[in-house]
């Protein structure tokens, strides 16, 4: 009923995985059975996708080296490097709230 975009390859914590161009990082992670997206700063609690619409900021992952990227709002691109975020973000790097289109 719905034809997905082109298949792309990306990495989850360094491991190769498949995704479809245009789908969210959250969807691609779930499709690869990866639901723990980060560990919190204060008590190292595991967090994942909660609201799925960009308001809760729980689904934060590191994308191409940039932290605090909302997986549910970011489309997957070819060779995107997604990593589990552990603890607080690097205070020196910027805190983008969009996808990482401009990350190298």
């Amino acid at each position: 009923m719905v034809k997905r975009g082109a298949k792309v390859s990306f990495t989850i914590d360094g491991q190769r995985a498949d995704a479809f161009a245009g789908e969210t990082v959250a969807a691609a992670l779930f499709a690869n059975r990866h639901r723990i997206l980060r560990y919190t700063s204060r008590s190292s609690m595991a967090r994942g996708v909660y609201c799925g619409m960009g308001v809760c900021f729980d689904c934060l992952v590191e994308v191409n080296g940039r932290p605090n990227i909302r997986a549910c709002m970011t489309p997957v691109t070819s060779d995107m490097a997604v990593c589990t975020q552990v603890g607080p973000s690097d205070p020196v790097s910027p805190v983008p709230t969009w996808g990482a289109e401009d990350a190298d």
Partner: protein, 485 residues
Amino acid sequence: MPIERDLIVIGGGPAGISAATAAADAGLRVTLLEDRPTLGGQIYKQPPLGFEILEPARMGKEHQVAQKLLSALEVTDVEVRTGHTVWGIWDQVDHKDVGVYTEAGESLVYSAPDIIVATGAYDRPVPFPGWTLPGVLTAGGAQSMVKIQKVLPGDRILMVGSGPLILAFSCQLHQLGANIVGIVEAAPSPGVVQRVKLAASAGLQNAGLLREGISYLNYVRNHSIPMYYGHAIARAEGDNEVTGAVIRKVDADWSPVPGTEQRIDVDTICVGYGFLPSTELLKTIGCELEYNEQLGGQIPTRTRLMETSVPGVYAVGDGSGVAGAPASIVEGRIAALSVAARSGALPKSRARVRVRRELRSWSAIQRFRAALDETYRIRPGIYNWMTDDTIICRCEEVTAGEIQQFVGTSRDPNYVKSLTRASMGLCQGRNCSRNVSWLVAESTGQDPAQVMSLNARPPAKPVPLGAIADPTPPPIPSDLMMSDE
């Protein structure tokens, strides 16, 4: 330089699309600003760019309504701007300024004599032990993932919530291949009297909705999906991910009934107990608010023409009080006609006739909704599902016990926020401030409706400093420069 228009519509869901279309049809120069990359809001969320719908006719009624709305918008000259996030609105009396940050990193200001705020709603945050575990999703989040992204959130899914939407979601997800192991509905099984009342208030306008409701119940029965009436979620189990759910009976007020717990083997829990309106922008501009628990808490007061207490600021759709897509579409039109009449673009007599017609539709929709809400209203026992150890502020990891410790004799949640950091996180209190206010109310013996609101200031959404900072600041005068000695 601000970009000047006759009308700015904030939010591209059903209310915003409807408002922008009607206003443009009346001859106004309109800009529609939408945060996401596509229009449709939540209920009419569009597939990702790059996905193609092969058989539109099989996509269901919602899809057809969405396409009709979008097609009507497309033929107007509304300037549609997706990837544009509105982080602030300011009342300059004869016009309103709208602060925008785009996904391309541009900072813009729009300006118009009138603005229509159609920012929609989000799932009500219901704290219970384990609700922060990966595997616990809101019903909206789950629906998005399955319907739009075409990915199942888990292998064994428990749906918990109340009302027609959780029933509808469950059937839709099941139809799309999800393994729904149970539907946990907090309200008791609707008795005969209630069913008759619902049918009587439905009227022609809502007959379709009623038919849908009955077909969903038939679907659940035909597919043997276990239905637990008068039950609610007690806790989510698991160390780093959901491995099980414990549910229990609740009484008529939704308070837990001791000794009725039962464990269900699941890996995913979808939570759907209604929605809260996104009123952040309206609060920052100083709109007068009233408290209505059923519509989601503090909502802006509005005239019948959808104008808030701030002249020139209109509020429509779920963002002003959750009332569903049909009402949102009608409200968008009413506000647009009102703006068009006020600006002179539409003769007042013609506007009056059309607004009257829209108001009649609106009243019919409200009557049905009132009957539905009576059956499925949020009951106060829901606030008894949290324990001392339950995280209330997800972003800053603050528990109910910690919040209560700091409430003290203060009646002011802003004080609690300062001491605990609750509501200071990235979600800006969307997922905790109502629950913090409830805890303050409980500890100080107030009615939740009386509790002071959290001070609201822009930005209404997290934006980088670059969105606000002047990229070319004036040079610092040399006598203020630090010397090197």
